[in-house]
Structure formats: structure tokens, C-alpha cells
């Protein structure tokens, strides 16, 4: 049906099973599920018995295991046999549980059966399936396995998991299931599907429609095509059949080379390099110094390396894609994590260009969003939308994420590269150099009708974009020194996040003017957005 993946068993024949036909999951499943237990067991055995036993066997000495009298009493052979028996039993039990774990996909249902003593069967109606996501945890991922997670709005159960399947099989099964779910929903209420599909009331549906109508956008992406083949995205979306994780268009992928480059040029790596050089030099001069110094540096070194690792996890294989509900980021080397930013929720955005990244044109983009996941999301991937990318990538991200009609691309690029008050930016006055000797010519702001752009940083340059209609409040702040020098700081308050939303040491007159104009423009922008909302969704406003 989709024409991809020819070797999968599910490819032959239709995607639905007859009543009696059941499939089994991957035989590794029970062992992957209880891998921790297995590892603990094997480790325990190895630790207590095997070492002694093997060394004794190799040296042809009488076995002398110091684990108490029992083993000596019954003899090593018997002890080994018992152990193997236990292991065998566990494996047998695992296989037994695998044998009785089956699934079935019929026209209307997904059924999942497990257990041989106490049997459980779960089923989910296909037309109630909200989305199907592929989950890949660490161990299954190494083994090339994946699990399918169903979001079901079915009253009884809310989530069902099919685990584990081979990765490509899981992927294919999902596409077929989505199509089948779509069919089931369409059969149930074709008229409604038609109506809702063509209705342009929902802005999200309209967005998806636009994408569907753009053949170049669909075919251009280097990644796999979405499950759109065979599924009318708009209808599927109306029925919630496209999971939030379903890709409509892949926007950008960070190449591995650039990830490595960005890591090599990151502060932790530089610290490691400096440490290495220092230790080499010191050993050259005072042999033996390293042995003294290393233990004391080790904790610090570990912290630095773990920082490096977390950067690696966040940027390895990073992809940014459009999904029905917004934009999705996905990255990870061992633990793949993905997170979705719903459309129009971006409150502020910051582009950073560290000193060492300049020579390969590297930028990082971070956003602050409201809602959806909250703090946990912001902590993981939610706020990082581009770990390292070119100016071109940044432009794409800006256009995709900022909830604005006109994207201040020019201002952002000037914010990253400009210096001094020559362009659109107003910078700190010259007298601020006493307070801000390095950055005063960079610190500045620029504004257009829809957003405020702040810039700063001499070595690590950064530029923030704060849409006017997303600002909460603003404040001027002036300390005693500022007052003496007729300077003032300006801050925009947004949803808390890791984006710089303030500038220091502006001329006090300009800062006052900035606050006044920002208030005006924000008012206009809010009215615009409010008006737009009224046109699009008259429900909920009595005055319409």
C-alpha cells in the first residue's frame, strides 16, 4: 500500500487479519522487558561462582569456592547444573510468555493478548485511535526493535503498547494502521469526514491543507515521506488519526559532521583540551605530576565529559519536522527524544552564535513556549530547536516557528553580525563603555511593527526576537550608577525560559521612548491578533 519496505511480512496480503489469525511479537521481547533482572542474575553468578570455578578448572586444582559449605558439599558440577537449570527455566519462562503474547489487527480493532496462566486481552477500536507513535528505548534500539504506542480515546483504556517489533516492521505497521484507522473512521461517518475535511474553520487543518497542496514541499524533504501516502491528511487530522508525531515535512537535519564540529568547538571540549595540554606539559617537566594531579581533577573532568555527552545527546541526528500540531524536534544518540512545539506557542526566540562556531557559521536557536509539557519539556528538547545550524537553517527556523506575518529576518541577521549603531539597531551610548567596555557597541535593540529584536554579546553573540503580541509586561530599571550616567535597562517579561529578554545601559531617553513605543505596538499587535481570532473563531465571544 505504501510501497516501501518489501521484506516485511505485513507487506504481503492486506493490513487486516481474519478472526483467527494472530501474530507474535519479536522473540526477544520478554528478555528485553526483564533485561535488568537477567543482567543482575548473570552478574551475580559471575561474581560469586564462575570466577572461582573457572580458575580452578583452568589450573586443574580442586575446586575451592569460598561461598560456604553448600557448594563444596554437593560439588561444583552440581552447583553449575543448578545454576544452568535456573537460567534455563528463566529462558523457558520467557519463551513461554513470548509464545502467548500475540496481536491481531482486524478491520475494526487492534487486539493484544498476553499471559499463559493469567491471560489478558486488550483491544482498541481503530476508529478511536488518536495517534500511533513509535517508541525506541535504549536496549530495544540496540537490538533494532521498537514498540508501537497507541493513544486511544476509547473510554476503557487510554494507552496500549505493542512491543517489541522489528523497527521497520513497526514503522510499516503504523502506516498501515493509520490508513486502516482512517478508513474505519471514514466508514463510520463519511459525510461528517467530508464536511470537516473541506471546512476551513480550523486553522490547523488549513495549514495541513496548504502543505498537502504544495507538491514540492512534500517531495523535497530528504527524509522518508510521511504516512500521507494513501491517507488524506486533512481528514485524518480531523479525526485525530495523524499522531502528533507524524511527519508532514522534514525541515532540517543536522549532519553528523557539523554535530561533531560543534562539540569540538564547545566550551567543555575546549576545557578538556586545555586540561590535556596542561597535563602533558606538566608530565614532560615533572614526571609523576600527573599521578598526583589526576585524581583531584577527575571529578571535574567527569562533569565536563558528562556535559559534553548531554550536548551530544541533544544534537546527534537532530531533525526538525513539521507535524500536524506544530513543529517536532527529535534527537538522540542512545536515548532518542522527541518533543512537539504546538503552532503559535512560541513566546520568544534566541539565536546564539558562539565565538568558536563562527568559522563554520554555526548558530543555536532556543525558544520559550507556553504550555504543552511545561517545565519538563523546557528542560529537555522543547526549548532547543536548532542545536547547530547555518544562517540558512536559522532563517528556516525563524519562518517556521515565529507566530508572525513578517519575519524580521534582516533584523536578526544584523543582530548577529552588526556592531555599532549604524543600522536598524539603537545601541548603548558611548558613555556606557565605562560600564560595558566590551559589549556596549553590540548591546542594542530594534523594532518593527510585529516584534522586538534585542542583541548583545561580543564574543558569544546573541539576538532575541520577542513578538509584540506575546509580551506580558515591560520594565525600565535604573540603579544609582545608571542614574548618574543617564542610562537605563529595559526588560521584556515573557513566559520564563532561557531566552535573554533584557538590554542594559541604554540611553535613558531612548529607553523611555522604547518602553512607550513597545507598549503602543504591543497594544496594536494584540488588537490585530484578537481581531484575527474573532474572525476565525467567533465561538466563545458573545459580541462576535
Amino acid at each position: 500500500m505504501t510501497g516501501r519496505g518489501t521484506q516485511s511480512p505485513a507487506e504481503h496480503g492486506p493490513s487486516r487479519d481474519a478472526e483467527g489469525v494472530w501474530h507474535r511479537v519479536h522473540p526477544f521481547t520478554p528478555f528485553v522487558r526483564s533485561w535488568l533482572l537477567l543482567v543482575a542474575l548473570v552478574w551475580g553468578i559471575g561474581n560469586t561462582f564462575l570466577d572461582d570455578v573457572i580458575s580452578a578448572l583452568v589450573k586443574h586444582e580442586p575446586i575451592n569456592v569460598d561461598v560456604g559449605g553448600a557448594v563444596q558439599l554437593v560439588g561444583a558440577g552440581l552447583a553449575l547444573a543448578v545454576l544452568c537449570g535456573v537460567l534455563g527455566l528463566l529462558i523457558g519462562l520467557g519463551l513461554l510468555s513470548w509464545w502467548f503474547t500475540r496481536y491481531q489487527i482486524t478491520d475494526e480493532h487492534v487486539r493484544f493478548r498476553s499471559g499463559w496462566l493469567f491471560r489478558t486481552q486488550r483491544q482498541a477500536r481503530l476508529d478511536r485511535v488518536q495517534g500511533i507513535d513509535i517508541e525506541r528505548r535504549f536496549l530495544p534500539r540496540i537490538l533494532g526493535l521498537a514498540s508501537l504506542k497507541f493513544d486511544v480515546a476509547d473510554g476503557g483504556i487510554s494507552a496500549m503498547e505493542l512491543s517489541y517489533l522489528r523497527r521497520d516492521h513497526a514503522r510499516q505497521l503504523r502506516e498501515q494502521l493509520l490508513a486502516a484507522a482512517h478508513r474505519a473512521a471514514a466508514q463510520e461517518d463519511p459525510a461528517q469526514a467530508q464536511l470537516q475535511g473541506t471546512g476551513d474553520g480550523d486553522p490547523a487543518a488549513a495549514t495541513v491543507g496548504d502543505l498537502t497542496d504544495r507538491p514540492d514541499a512534500a517531495g523535497k524533504g530528504p527524509g522518508r515521506r510521511g504516512p500521507r501516502d494513501g491517507v488524506d491528511v486533512r481528514v485524518a487530522q480531523k479525526h485525530g488519526l495523524l499522531g502528533e508525531q507524524d511527519e508532514l515535512r522534514r525541515v532540517s537535519t543536522v549532519p553528523t559532521g557539523r554535530v561533531v564540529l560543534s562539540l569540538v568547538c564547545s566550551p567543555p571540549a575546549v576545557v578538556v583540551a586545555v586540561l590535556a595540554v596542561v597535563s602533558l606539559v606538566s608530565t614532560a617537566w615533572f614526571p609523576g605530576a600527573l599521578i598526583v594531579v589526576l585524581p583531584s581533577v577527575l571529578p571535574f573532568l567527569l562533569a565536563v565529559i558528562s556535559g559534553l555527552y548531554s550536548r551530544l545527546e541533544k544534537s546527534w541526528g537532530f531533525t526538525l519536522s513539521e507535524v500536524p500540531s506544530g513543529v517536532r524536534t527529535r534527537a538522540g544518540l542512545f536515548n532518542e527524544r522527541s518533543s512537539t512545539l504546538p503552532t503559535g506557542r512560541v513566546q520568544a526566540l534566541e539565536v546564539t552564535k558562539p565565538l568558536l562556531w563562527r568559522f563554520f557559521d554555526g548558530h543555536r536557536v532556543v525558544v520559550v513556549t507556553a504550555g504543552k509539557g511545561g517545565a519538563a519539556d523546557a528542560e529537555s528538547l522543547g526549548s532547543l530547536v536548532l542545536p547547530v545550524g547555518t544562517a540558512e537553517n536559522v532563517r528556516e527556523v525563524l519562518e517556521l516557528l515565529l507566530p508572525l506575518e513578517e519575519i524580521p529576518v534582516e533584523l536578526v541577521s544584523e543582530g548577529l553580525n552588526g556592531i555599532g549603531g549604524t543600522g536598524a539597531f539603537t545601541t548603548s551610548p558611548r558613555r556606557a563603555r565605562w560600564l560595558d567596555p566590551i559589549t556596549w557597541r553590540r548591546t542594542g535593540y530594534a523594532m518593527d511593527d510585529s516584534s522586538l529584536v534585542l542583541r548583545g554579546g561580543r564574543l558569544t553573540r546573541h539576538t532575541s526576537v520577542i513578538p509584540h503580541h506575546k509580551t506580558q509586561s515591560t520594565a525600565l530599571a535604573q540603579g544609582p550608577v545608571d542614574r548618574r550616567m543617564r542610562l537605563s535597562g529595559f526588560a521584556v517579561h515573557t513566559i520564563p525560559g532561557s531566552v535573554t529578554t533584557s538590554v542594559d545601559h541604554l540611553d535613558v531617553e531612548q529607553a523611555r521612548e522604547l518602553q512607550r513605543r513597545q507598549a503602543e505596538l504591543a497594544r496594536a499587535a494584540r488588537d490585530r491578533v484578537n481581531g484575527g481570532m474573532l474572525e476565525r473563531a467567533p465561538i466563545g465571544r458573545s459580541d462576535g
Binding site: 506557542r345 513566546q347 507556553a370 504550555g371 503580541h469 506575546k470 509580551t471 506580558q472 509586561s473 515591560t474 520594565a475 525600565l476 530599571a477 535604573q478 540603579g479 544609582p480 542614574r483 537605563s488 526588560a491 517579561h493 515573557t494 513566559i495 520564563p496 535613558v508 523611555r512 518602553q515 512607550r516 513597545q518 507598549a519 504591543a522 497594544r523 494584540r526 491578533v529 484578537n530 481570532m533
Partner: protein
Amino acid sequence: MPATTELGPPGLAWRQVSPAYVTVRLIGTAISTVVWTAVLAVPLLLGLFGVWGGPTPWWLWLPPAVALVWGAVNLLLVPRRVRAIGYAEAPTELWLRKGLFFRTVTVVPYGRMQYVDIKTGPVLNAFRLASVTLHTASASTDAVLPGLPREEADRLREQLTERGEEHMVGL
């Protein structure tokens, strides 16, 4: 005294908090000064009562003295600090100013207010005062109006709520 208004825009009708709030702040500052002085005087008192033996070193007088002077300066500044607090109701935003040395002027659009808190404590209550706090979706919005007369606080709350509904926008 140059007023904080010079940070704010011209042409706004700034209102000040109640003059009675000066007394409240004076009481608060006096209490905290006494407490701090007492706490910092503990080593000195111990020394004077000969708990540690030997002559009392002169520098034990320093901490309570500093606390006392600091408190006195604060007490002197209280009236000016209170006078520096102000607010102005513009058609679509509320402007707030505060601070004598570290000044801030904050603009909160009515449509951005999520809720308005009115708080009062025993001392504030005795002077029939209340403090009004505005909350937006941003945690960094620091918009507190302490020491408004109770009626004014109620009026402001009503006004803000009404205008908030009028101008409400989604995130």
C-alpha cells in the same frame, strides 16, 4: 528630589499610595531594626556579662552599631521610598513605578493580567490598607502596589478585572 517620574512617560496622571502607608513601613522597619540589632548584639552582651571571660573586645560593638545605623537610615528614607511608589491607569495599560535608588517603571497591559491579589496583614489592616499584586503569565512581572486604602484597592481590583476582560488575549 527628582521624582521617579522621569523614567516614566510624560503626561501620565500618577497616583501615590496612601500616606498612612509611611507609618506602616516605619513600624515594619523599626521592628526589623530592633530584631537585627538584638541578634547582632548577642555576642556583645555575652562578652559584657563575662560569659567568655576577659575584657570585651571593642569590635563586638560594631555589628549592632552598624545594624542600628542602617536601620536609622532606612527609617529616614521610608517617607521618600513610599512617595516613590506610584501607579497610573492608562487606557490600555497600568503603569507602576517604585524605588528610590534602584528605580523601576513597569508597564502591565490590562489584557495580560491573569489575576489580581489583594492582601492585608494585621498592621495594614489596622490602618485600613491593603496591597494589590498583579500577576501575568510571566514570573518576572513584579507588579505590587503596597499600602493602598482599602476602598481604592477594591476599586482598582474591580477596574483591573473589568478592563482585563475587555482586553483579554490568549497567550
